[in-house]
Assembly symmetry: C3
Homo-oligomer: 213 residues x 3
């Protein structure tokens, strides 16, 4: 189950579904903070959880996306949305809780996105970029729909940890590492760097001169 | 014409083009309300009318989308845009006129989207969801481009009627109903529920607790 | 190199990469004006430069997009972003500099988009529209991400020059013109009309009556 020929390995499936779950929670929390109703919460949970993977699968021509042919990919964001709707006071509704789940999703998706892109024949550099795009895509869709400034444009490092995690996954795959050594360190690298950047307020260089808007 | 092998049946084609027409009018009315010029009206009419179907066709790998290989799919939103531009005072420009055309498009697209997804081999649950996505996709594109809060996040039921209409279309297809019994009740179910929700102000449950934004 | 069987001709490749370069500069300048950091500048440069082509390639089923299989397509927006980040005071940061680069990208992309769509078997009318969509797609993505009103809804002509340039490219291709006579006049026609519209303040007809928003 999940380990069959042609499908992803069990480990990759678990990591992919975990990424969908935590991203969907981040989307559902944004919806709760905006006082959307239960269906708005589910739509934003689904968009955030599945958006990055949809974008990746359409670009690498892995259509129809897994989310449309495998019921587990649909069940997970629905569960995440309903759980968040029911238990959000326990989860906490502060912006930093959204950010925590978002960072976890970023770490998981940058790795699974890069590995899947390699499997579909992309070269190392495009595969690493596709990992980054998978990671940041869901959050961009969430923030556009909710009328927020996309997290990727926040002042702390965001795209860079995703790119580094994806780069690890690509290099480790090319070096022939076993799957758990490809995926887990890459995801932890991205998640750790993102959380460190938030905690220590690491910022990337800004343009010189005064703002002109 | 339209009934050839491989193409959709005449009934499905008529329903699909009708959905494009009414969605395009809703987009054109939003553009008129924003005082966009005639080309802005045409762009928003085209995006709204064709956006949901583009999204569906890309996701189920039915590319190039019908809109790019069949001139009728291009003519319809252009006509809808020009008619709206010329006759908008007669159509009325109140927000509830936009909403009426939007509900009609929602009903038509949730059904044609679900039926097309089934034809392309999707399972029943993904096909119903794809019907919902086809229905809400065009309106989301319209509202993002026009800088409005997406209708799907409005306080009255929106995604639910689309999901129910699409579910009818899937179940009726699986039960072997003739096409007219698949499509017409499904579209009316969705349209009727949406209008009832607006009229009776049906709202879905909201999250507990105060807003924290 | 670039002229191999199956790939685009050298001229088309140069025009496509030039379009990516100037659009990426327009995106990077918007990011600089918004005081985004260096990675925000790179993300907006990449989205603006590659967005229209991604949309085109996904719609005409030319996946994976060239940008994911050819490293030159990735290098160009990164270079454009870094150059803009380093030298933006020299480039100027006024809105009209953004507009100038945007118009150049519009001219280049409407032509390469139309020619590529013809190569992939689309009819003349859809191919011209796909050229227009390729031209306006990157700018729409840039403006949505940066929270600006899309340039296509600005009061001066925008989509029309792109449609006319793409129409030239389609007609000249059908008439059997050599490639340089297909591409260069089409790009200049679009760029010239857009700049004239900005300079002379050409506006398309507006809807009658007062605004009702």
């Amino acid at each position: 189950m999940g380990d069959a020929t042609g499908g992803p390995s069990l480990l990759l499936l678990v990591l992919d579904l975990s990424g969908i779950f935590v991203f969907a929670i981040s989307g559902a929390l944004v919806a709760v903070r905006r006082r959307l109703d239960v269906f708005g919460v589910l739509v934003l949970a689904g968009t955030t959880g599945l958006g990055g993977g949809f974008l990746r699968d359409v670009l690498i021509d892995a259509t129809p996306p897994a989310a449309l042919s495998d019921w587990r990919y649909l069940l997970v964001p629905v569960l995440a949305g309903l759980l968040t709707f029911a238990f959000h006071p326990a989860l906490g509704r502060a912006e930093r809780v959204v950010t925590l789940f978002d960072a976890a999703g970023l770490g998981l998706f940058c790795v699974t996105g890069a590995v899947k892109a390699l499997e579909y024949g992309l070269g190392p550099v495009p595969a690493a970029l596709m990992g980054m795009v998978t990671g940041i895509g869901g959050g961009i869709a969430r923030d556009l729909l909710a009328g927020r400034t996309p997290a990727v444009f926040s002042s702390e490092l965001y795209a860079t940890p995703a790119l580094l995690g994806a780069t690890w996954a690509v290099l480790a795959t090319l070096a022939g590492f076993v799957e758990v050594a490809v995926t887990v360190p890459g995801a932890l690298l991205c998640f750790g760097l993102r959380m460190l950047a938030l905690w220590r307020d690491w910022k990337a260089p800004l343009p010189r001169g005064p703002a002109s808007v």
